[in-house]
Symmetry: C2
């Protein structure tokens, strides 16, 4: 429990591309909101450099050892997007830093809220974050020139803990409904295990209704304006969570608008769900990158470490700025305002609520 | 080449639930359109019973041996939906009959067109249909009570042939654009192989533009009304094809409106992409099931066996009936018309174009 803690260390990881630009803005907002407790030494913001693609390429690791050691000295982490090397890039084919961090810090619950009140959308996704199709990283097998094999891994414990987290939240929030999404009609062994686990756990939550759908038809159901508001809390194996949350975020304004909480027993990490947009930086437009998503992630971080009230203030300020943005007056994307100006505007709104 | 053939055998497989109801209607439409060539003996419609869940359960096989032998005497197959057993069902946990048929008859290309002219949507999906996450069927491993493993299998040949089919179509149709969808940033070995194969093949089609996206963001891009019309021909590994085509069909009116062609070197099978809706039958409403999707599939079959003109006539008739349907005058779903009445209406429209 964070409330009882004398000191909370928040790691701030810039990442690649636009990451350092937008993360700096989110950091300013955190400093603004937490200034008193920072002065008192209860909150320590620790900037962790070095999770750059150049460093990762140099040591051939998704997370350099010294960075990982530093991350482990933090209680919670705010992380900017990192670049995942792909073919044709100048870097070796190392694993995604996100994916590695989730696994190394055992951040098993990836919680992604998507809310569009005017459309009746209020979804909270609980994405399993350490196993499934992501379990083995890049350790698939090229058996020979013709044949490649990857593995999907599902464990009982790994399934149980994310499903319980989803049911706990469904009960606590009074939403009382959990939708389990798998492809258990085809991926019978692993997804079947996940679905079985959900059915077993549901029995301990008589007040929570459970239903289940396959991922293919779920992507259609989210589009269906008349019926999608029936979904409240969704729990999914890693890959389906990855897929469905991007689609869901689109109804809210795109992946640029969604924050993502990666929560484990010991650590928690909060990030934007969009990419590092390296081209914006090479074209000299890094300062125009939209910090909205990572500031939202900072809000989730505040809530997680027990600053409920400040988290709510920030949420409200972001909603106001979001409205403002829709009027195309001030936004990184549409009017040429910088990320800094946007953060200033958020802080101004926080000062005069 | 079908044009040169003296005799073409069309297998008609009813399947389960509403399958036999709607398949019978599609068969009537085929008989109507092909009546002359049926009389001449050039076309033989062969009804294949026995692909029912009861029979499959009795022999514990996704496709009973005698049914498979009969299927192999056909050139093309029109197939109604089949029920895939799931936990809690009274049947053993046998594999999906669709999935098994695609593999047994080596129907490697699952072609799914989605077209909504008024929304600028004209997508043709080329879904790899025999490998990927579907390759091993239900043969995953329960290592112990805690640990379950599934396998994803990608071969060079399996990738090449579907990617070539997509590029060939893009060129032939003049659409000249192929979008490759993978999750190669995470599923590096198998999806990486698929993406590499696409890049290599693209070099042989200089007039066809290729781009590639990850499946997560693709589900968002299909929602984006301003930009989705940029997509023309899409090629995807099995699971992503499964997922994205359900979402795509939703913009056209739901999975009930889309037909699906499963094409191999020797055989081809055409089906509705919706399920068998067994409840409609147990509730005595089987005759009200909407045959629209399987009649569309019959149209794809006609085109495949060289009856281009008749396929176009049927397409036009379906478009007219579709409009009629929107006026809520005659539709299985909205006004209580039966599937038979709908098929009658399609044939009437065909007679008075
Ligand atoms: C960047 C990528 C590795 C990552 C994922 O696949 O999990 C991203 O899409 C996400 O959803 O956080
Ligand atoms: C019924 C199911 C096994 C099948 C699939 O997963 O391929 C269906 O969703 C489809 O798209 O044809």
């Amino acid at each position: 429990d964070f409330k009882a803690k004398d000191k909370i260390v928040i790691g701030v990881v810039g990442g690649d591309g636009i990451g350092p630009f937008i993360t700096a803005e989110a950091q300013r907002v955190l400093e603004f909101l937490l200034s008193e407790d920072i002065k008192k030494g209860r909150i320590v913001l620790k900037v962790i450099d070095g999770l750059t693609i150049e460093n990762r390429a140099a040591c051939g690791k998704a997370i350099p050892d010294d960075v990982l050691a530093e991350l482990k000295t933090c209680d919670v982490i705010l992380k900017g997007p990192t670049t995942t090397p792909r073919e044709g890039d100048p870097w070796p084919n190392i694993e995604s830093a996100n994916v590695a961090m989730r696994r190394e810090l055992d951040l098993f619950a990836n919680v992604r809220p998507v809310s569009v009140p005017e459309k009746g959308i209020d979804w909270t996704f609980y994405r399993e974050n350490t196993e499934g199709a992501y379990a083995i990283g890049s350790k698939g097998i090229h058996v020979n020139d013709d044949l490649a094999i990857d593995f999907t891994v599902t464990t009982q414990e790994g399934s149980d803990r994310i499903i319980k987290a989803a049911f706990d939240y469904a009960r606590k929030s009074g939403k009382n409904k959990v939708t389990v999404v798998t492809k258990a009609n085809v991926i019978k062994t692993t997804d079947g295990k996940f679905l079985d686990a959900a059915k077993a756990i549901a029995k301990n939550y008589p007040e929570v209704e459970m239903d289940d759908w396959y991922i293919d038809i779920m992507t259609a159901k989210l589009v269906d304006e008349k019926r999608r508001s029936q979904f409240k809390v969704l729990v999914l194996p890693n890959l389906y969570g990855d897929i469905l949350t991007d689609e869901a975020a689109e109804f809210q304004g795109g992946v640029g608008t969604a924050g993502s909480a990666n929560i484990g027993k010991q650590y928690a990490m909060f990030e934007a769900i969009h990419g590092s947009a390296p081209r914006m930086v090479t074209e000299g437009r890094g300062q125009y990158a939209d910090p909205c998503s990572i500031i939202r992630a900072a809000g989730m971080l505040l809530e997680h470490i027990g600053y409920q009230e400040k988290a709510e203030m920030l949420q409200k300020a972001l909603d106001i700025c979001g409205l403002y943005e829709k009027k195309l007056v001030l936004t990184g994307r549409d009017t040429g305002a910088t990320g800094s100006e946007y953060a200033d505007y958020v802080m101004e709104t926080l000062s005069h609520p």
